[in-house]
């Protein structure tokens, strides 16, 4: 069985469509992030990990009535509590969140109050506290900084590696593509939130997913670049655009297969992984689609555009055929 035996698509000829597509999604992401920023003070919906606060996950024996819970917490004097049904309805789970508390010495009070209010209203055995997260503002800030730094360093590390193995322009093109993917994926969280899908928040595990998608997108780009490097060595008379087109077509079968299979595993994570992994797997589902797209539609055209800019209007492959691999 084979998917593509010999395709001959002129990918670079479609670069303006790609550019338009990428721009639309990037701009949509940026706009929804700005809107989110204006509304809440942060560009994306942040989980309790980053913004601080209290989050209590409660499982009830009977189907919970969120209105009753709201009454119970309000009666106990807890303000600003957000109460949402969580997971599939048959699990009877409710997520109760309180915004960041500024007094760190009394970090626990919110959680205690929620527990007491529920006990008073529903009785001791009617529910089980499944998960409690209380994050003070200091730690939230630290984690935010840590996550941002980790992402940036990670990109830098890959850039350096590609510079060493290929050439600087390959590294830059790959990093730009990754940046593009990250922007659109993170933007989709803001976009979903502004369309009223609640509970998709950037948590620590989502950061792990974003770093994974960076790695994945890079992986995809490298496969194409590797083929370009190889083909450049073989045929120096062909124009770079043709070499790039041919390389993409030669690796297309692999690209579609791998992306398809990885998509399959990530999809099973999204379907079977439960609510704890939902944000994580969502980021990966989006990330794999966009990461596959960007290696063909963003990274490769950038190489050609750079070469054309450097060579004026000359169409010959002036991009030197990178170092011969010694490994």
């Amino acid at each position: 069985m084979e998917l593509f035996r010999s395709v001959n698509v002129d990918w670079l000829g479609k670069k303006w469509y790609f550019l338009a597509f990428s721009l639309i999604f990037s701009v949509a992401g940026i706009i929804s992030m700005s809107a989110h920023w204006a509304k809440t003070g942060s560009p994306v919906p942040l989980g309790v990990d980053f913004k601080g606060g209290t989050q209590v996950e409660v499982q009830f024996k009977q189907a919970p009535d969120t209105e009753q819970i709201r009454q119970a917490t309000a009666a106990a004097g807890i303000r600003d509590a957000s109460i949402v049904n969580y997971d599939i309805p048959s699990h009877h789970e409710v997520l109760i969140s309180l915004p960041e508390q500024h007094v760190e010495s009394s970090l626990d009070t919110g959680q205690q109050q929620i527990h007491d209010a529920l006990r008073a209203k529903f009785g001791e055995g009617a529910f089980e506290i499944r998960n409690v997260s209380v994050v003070g503002p200091t730690v939230g800030k630290q984690l935010e900084k840590q996550a941002t730094l980790a992402t940036l360093y990670s990109l830098l590390g890959m850039l350096i590696y590609l510079w060493f193995r290929f050439q600087l322009i390959y590294g830059i093109a790959a990093v730009v593509a990754c940046f593009h993917d990250t922007l659109i994926t993170v933007g989709s969280f803001a976009l979903l939130d502004s369309f009223g899908f609640k509970g998709m928040e950037i948590s620590l595990t989502v950061i792990a997913a974003i770093l994974t998608l960076v790695g994945y997108s890079m992986n995809d780009t490298i496969v194409v670049f590797d083929r370009i490097r190889e083909n450049l060595r073989l045929s120096r008379r062909e124009s770079l655009a043709d070499v790039v087109n041919r390389s993409i077509n030669q690796t297309l079968s692999r690209t579609v297969l791998t992306s398809g299979l990885t998509f399959l595993t990530v999809l099973s994570l999204f379907v079977f992984g439960g609510p704890v992994l939902r944000g994580f797997s969502f980021a990966l589902v989006v990330g794999i689609l966009i990461g596959t797209y960007s290696s063909i539609a963003v990274a490769a055209p950038m190489l050609v555009a750079w070469q054309q800019w450097r060579a004026g209007s000359s169409k010959a492959a002036v991009l030197p055929a990178a170092k011969r691999s010694k490994v």
Binding site: V132, S133, G215, G274, V276
Partner: protein
């Protein structure tokens, strides 16, 4: 038979055996036939993170300023003593901003004619640890702890706190607690206690400072702070403090009462060598018997012999527990009789034995994961992983036919090696860690696809099976190496800068990719070569 092929197969079987052993037994000797099912062995040697087995996760901040304050309190006492011994005139040694800047002291009211003598005395004895400035016209001298000394003291305080918490956590019987410095400096400590869900009890045991000290009593008991203040003329001298009493022993019948005490303790927390709970044989009252260190014992003897007839107060956790009259000189042991409950005595003596916290703690973050949620998470995570793997395996068989078996074998071996790594290294498997496993599978499949597609290309170009396999691997290898190294680079950075669950993800991803380089390239190659060797002339590779 191709050169070395037998040797390679032996290597692969060897690796398989070693990692299978690691997955089931770690570095322990195997205990087979002990009635323990093999699956239990497996789950015992793969450490599960808090998100998978439930437990308590805390981030604490050590209030290091308190330790600095205690240190400078001692220095204040020593400076006063030195100046008195040298018969130099001064009015007092103060800490002008004890709360925010406990590192700064003022020597005030120096006789102008002696200012040089004072300066050289302080310079000579304290300049190693303190910066000394002033000595100008205002008859005062400022003594400030050097920043590097303060930093070292902060670090020591955090280290001591970790030691103390570790001792205390031992009493909870947690099997694999994590207690370590955390974060980007800022004197934070991470505590993770798997299998524990009673947060209140944990916090109680961890954050009881248990700081015990004995102070000279200036006056008291007074009924309230107002009365206590007016007894010292309305203004509390900087070397004295107001401390509330608690319980009946300390105050007779008064429940709330206030004492005026010398701020600097005669005997402080670190001076105690041991403490045991006991009962007074005459009164049946609960007591705590203590022993002092030799040095503190000498100091205590000196003080008590000079102050027979005076009172001293035992202060615990900021409250006067007992006031005793000094009847005779005491050297190094004594008894505290307070209004203690049985629990209190047990905890107190344990705390005194394990040592007091050098400073109090703030909670910055706490998380409790219920055991049932952990069990659900692992079920979901593992289900997702198994479903994902099975789907991929079936697809590979359908799409690549005979070579699909090859890919599936490599994938299976990859998982075995990954589990073995986890068993050997004692690394923790978290929920994102399971996700890391799933991604490893994705990369593993990618490597196989890259190789297989190359082999197909070569075969389309008309190469013979063995040459096609050769060329396919040779071409795919650089690509595989590049993709793996970049991903490992990002996983390593994640490991360095991430924390908790993210770290778990980086660990399985790194292990998985390393294993994948071996299985997808080396093992897969050997299987191919064996297959090609057995092909009859003219027969094609099933791919």
């Amino acid at each position: 038979m191709k050169k070395n092929l037998k040797q390679k197969i032996v290597i692969i079987i060897g690796v398989l055996v070693v990692f299978l052993y690691g997955a089931f037994f770690g570095f322990d000797a195997p205990r087979l036939g002990g009635g323990q099912p093999l699956l239990n062995q497996l789950t015992q040697h793969i450490h599960l993170g808090l998100d998978l087995q439930g437990g308590v996760h805390l981030i604490l901040q050590v209030q290091v300023k308190e330790a600095v304050s205690t240190e400078t309190d001692n220095t204040v006492a020593r400076i006063e003593q030195d100046l008195k011994t040298a018969k130099l005139t001064f009015s007092q040694v103060t800490k002008p901003d004890a709360t925010n800047h406990p590192e700064t002291m003022h020597i005030e009211g120096i006789n102008p004619t002696q200012s040089n003598a004072v300066r050289s005395l302080i310079d000579g004895k304290y300049s190693n640890e303190y910066d000394i400035s002033g000595g100008g016209g205002d008859n005062s001298l400022t003594v400030t702890m050097k920043p590097n000394i303060e930093k070292a003291l902060d670090d020591k305080t955090v280290q001591n706190t970790i030691e103390v918490i570790r001792d205390r956590v031992d009493s909870l019987g947690v099997s694999e607690p994590i207690i370590q410095q955390y974060g980007l400096g800022d004197n934070q400590i991470l505590v993770e206690l798997p299998g524990i869900s009673d947060l209140d009890r944990v916090k109680n045991i961890i954050s009881t400072t248990a700081r015990l000290s004995i102070h000279a009593v200036v006056g008291g008991p007074y009924p309230d702070e107002q009365a206590a203040l007016s007894s010292v003329g309305g203004n509390l001298p900087s070397d004295q403090e107001l401390v509330h009493g608690s319980g009946s022993m300390a105050t007779g019948s008064d429940v709330d009462s206030v004492y005026v005490l010398q701020r600097i303790a005669i005997v402080a927390g670190t001076d105690f060598r041991s403490a045991d709970p006991g009962t007074d044989s005459n009164t049946g009252q609960r007591t705590v018997h203590f022993t002092l260190t030799n040095e503190a014992g000498d100091k205590f003897y000196e003080y008590t012999s000079a102050n027979v007839g005076h009172s001293m107060a035992v202060v615990l956790g900021g409250r006067v527990k007992e006031v005793a009259n000094i009847e005779s000189a005491i050297r190094d042991s004594g008894e505290i009789r307070g209004s203690f409950s049985t629990d209190e005595v047990a905890i107190l003596s344990k705390m005194l034995r394990t040592g007091a916290l050098p400073a109090s703690l703030n909670y910055l973050e706490d998380r409790t994961v219920g055991a049932s949620l952990g069990a659900d998470s692992i079920k979901q995570g593992v289900t997702a992983a198994i479903v994902g793997v099975l789907l991929v395996m079936i697809f590979m068989l359908v799409y690549y036919k005979g070579s699909g078996i090859n890919a599936d074998l490599a994938l299976f071996l990859n998982l075995v090696i990954l589990l073995g790594f986890m068993g050997f290294s004692g690394a923790t498997l978290t929920l994102p860690g399971i996700a890391g496993v799933i991604l490893t599978i994705g990369m593993g499949v990618d490597s196989n696809v890259l190789i297989f597609e190359r082999i197909r290309e070569e075969m389309r170009a008309g190469k013979a099976p063995s040459a096609a396999v050769d060329q396919g691997f040779a071409h795919a290898w650089t690509t595989i190496l590049d993709t793996h190294v970049t991903t490992i680079v990002s996983a390593a950075i994640l490991f360095l800068f991430g924390s908790g669950p993210v770290k778990g993800f980086a660990v399985t991803l790194t292990f998985g990719l390393a294993a994948n380089l071996f299985t997808a390239v080396y093992v897969s190659r050997v299987i191919f070569d064996t297959h090609v060797n057995n092909l009859k002339t003219g027969e094609a590779v099933s791919i």
